[in-house]
């Protein structure tokens, strides 16, 4: 570019620059510590208004040349003579007596298409080193959830790609399905698999990491990139080393970003990993603000903390764009205690839960899903007919198996019927095992589950089920593509589809036995 042009531009800009005289509301910092500041003044401050902390101009440095970045805070407590505010960012630079300006804005984050594929902090700033994200729109992070007239019941499925979930605990678009379990039971793995499986499903995914280890996030990002899932995913990261205020606002920021896409009529999947840490962060801020502690030292409004967040997930009807936000909140329990305060709260808010158990995990059943305790209250309305048909039998098989499992040790003393049910159950458990990062398409799931529930696997040894399944899937993908596409298109198991599918399974079994 021409040098003179730049200078001309600059001149013009300076000439046209006008300062408007306006009254600004200011306050002063009374005390600051642990990410929370007490401020006097600011008489017209709104609740959850953004505040700007500026270093006082008496710093000696006349024009304050090198420090321009101001730190923002959010007013949380409006008291008689003072305001309690949490500080978003490094609070070390803020001193007693510093000036605080009110901005007249509720805390908002920039939103836009450019956010897709990026890692951002809860304020919408990039943290992946890929350059600044340019967005022209701002969305408030706190928003009242869509009302009744705008909503519609769930009618479209979210394919997680995990056989056990898609078959027995189906999740619909706009649903809130809790993933709950102890540490190290594969909660995040399920969420990540669900993201990976959204490829080509016209879904935008937002993964909100709350108080997570940055190394874990780096691993997840690398994995998503490898699978090409970052093309439709945004990661909102509040790391373990970030202030508690970041962890507190992270899910709301993620949701605000989701709402931007919702307003465009798109389907969004938001994962909050995890809300227990979110509650901890809020507890910390509340205690420092001297709000009275309640059960487990959480403040009185933890229920509202999560209910207002999860209520923002919705399926909108056609008149309002028809978009949806599906939420997969994650809760980490301590030693399997689901009756603790936060788990019970979130269980009651959500439309069902996926319950993971460490016992099952160590037994090698992964995903370590407890099928008995896991439910989906609305998802079955969205399940495809084909899946519904095979899944109904699956649940029954598993329930019977669990009832009879205790008798399994009697071995040969059992009657024929019982023995058969136990054998079927063992195979079912085996089929429902699935590796991480290996989500499966709906049509493939239907095919294998059909084979299972209709007894085609009863003559395969339990130890060989895994190999058999892998070979079967390979056979389906290579030689029986048409059946798969038929299921995918019709989404129903009509008689002719069933006939074709059975033929494929029989053909494969013939080849398999001859090959062995």
């Amino acid at each position: 570019m021409d040098k003179n042009y730049i200078i001309e531009q600059l001149k013009k800009q300076i000439e046209n620059f006008e300062t408007k005289t306006q009254t600004e509301k200011v306050g002063t910092v009374l005390e600051v510590g642990d990410g929370v500041a007490k401020i006097s003044g600011l008489s017209d401050c709104m609740a959850s208004e953004m505040l700007e902390f500026t270093n006082s101009h008496k710093s000696g440095d006349k024009l304050n040349t090198n420090k321009t970045e101001s730190i923002y805070g959010v007013a949380l407590n409006l008291e008689e003579g003072q305001i309690g505010a949490m500080i978003l960012g490094a609070f070390e630079g803020i001193k007693e007596g510093d000036q605080v300006k009110s901005t007249g804005k509720i805390l908002s984050i920039p939103v836009g298409e450019n956010m897709i594929g990026r890692v951002i902090n809860p304020l919408g700033q990039q943290i992946d080193g890929k350059g600044e994200i340019i967005c022209d729109k701002f969305y408030p992070i706190e928003k009242i959830a869509p009302g009744v007239i705008t909503r519609q019941s769930v009618n479209q499925p979210v394919q997680t790609g995990i056989k056990a979930i898609d078959a027995m605990i189906p999740v619909g678009r706009g649903q809130r399905e809790l993933i709950i379990g102890d540490r190290q039971t594969g909660k995040t793995a399920i969420a990540i698999d669900a993201i990976i499986n959204q490829k080509g499903q016209d879904m935008i995914c937002i993964y909100v990491a709350i108080g997570q280890k940055e190394s874990k996030i780096a691993r997840i990002v690398a994995e998503l990139e490898k699978k090409g899932a970052m093309e439709y995913t945004t990661i909102v990261l509040a790391g373990a080393s970030d202030p508690a205020a970041f962890s507190f606002i992270a899910p709301y920021s993620g949701c605000a970003l989701g709402e931007y896409f919702l307003d465009k009529g798109k389907d969004v999947l938001v994962i909050y990993d995890d809300l227990s840490k979110h509650a901890w962060a809020y507890r910390q801020i509340s205690l420092i603000l001297k709000r009275p502690p309640g059960r487990e030292a959480y403040p009185g409004d933890v229920f509202y903390l999560h209910s207002r967040l999860l209520e923002r997930s919705a399926k909108l009807n056609k008149d309002f764009g028809g978009g949806s936000i599906t939420a997969l909140p994650i809760i980490e329990t301590q030693a399997g205690d689901v009756s603790a305060y936060i788990p019970t709260n979130v269980i009651s808010i959500t439309d069902g839960q996926i319950y993971l158990e460490s016992d099952l995990f160590y037994k090698g059943i992964r995903p370590a899903l407890n099928v008995g305790l896991s439910v989906s209250r609305v998802g079955s309305a969205a399940q495809t007919k084909a899946m519904k048909k095979v899944a109904g039998k699956l649940r029954l098989d598993l329930a019977q198996f669990r009832e009879l499992e205790a008798f399994a040790q009697f071995g040969s003393d059992l009657d024929e019927n019982t023995r058969r049910q136990i054998e079927r159950g063992k195979r079912t458990v085996e089929i429902l095992k699935q590796d991480q990062y290996a989500p499966m398409l709906m049509e493939n799931q239907v095919a294998i589950l059909y084979a299972l529930t209709n007894g085609f696997l009863d003559d395969v040894a339990v130890e060989k089920i895994k190999v058999w399944e892998a070979d079967f899937q390979r056979y389906l993908d290579s030689s029986a593509k048409e059946v798969l596409t038929l299921i995918a298109e019709k989404k129903e198991l009509t008689e002719d589809v069933v006939a074709k599918l059975e033929k494929v399974i029989k053909d494969f079994k013939d080849i398999y036995q001859n090959g062995e």
Binding site: T21, T23, E24, V26, G41, D44, K62, N64, G81
Partner: protein, 133 residues
Amino acid sequence: MKITANQYAKTLFELIDNKPSQDVEKIIYNFVRVVKKNKQIKLFPGILERLSFIWNNKYKIAEAKIISAEELNEKDEKKIKDYLKEKYKVEKVVISKEIDKNIIGGFIIKTGDDIVDQSISGKIKKLRENLIK
């Protein structure tokens, strides 16, 4: 329950409002004793602040602090006073002045929580923010 500075200030104001000065002296003496008895002596700065706020509200007085680079002349001072009278709908404006060479030129008016920044340094700062954008 603890009594707040605001409550003390309100009570004190109601007690001393429209009272002859010898009564006021006695009331204040008793007031200080009560606050001391309640072990809330450290609230005094707050009480004083609230009291002047309530007083100013009732008698329509605005207290303003003007920071300027150089001594203000009478004419400018009157202009500012008129401006403030208009703005806050008060009858009297009490001004305290401060000289700060760091603001280069112009003035800053501080009234309670409100700030009107008409200083050169403030303008330069705004210009810079604008240019960075």
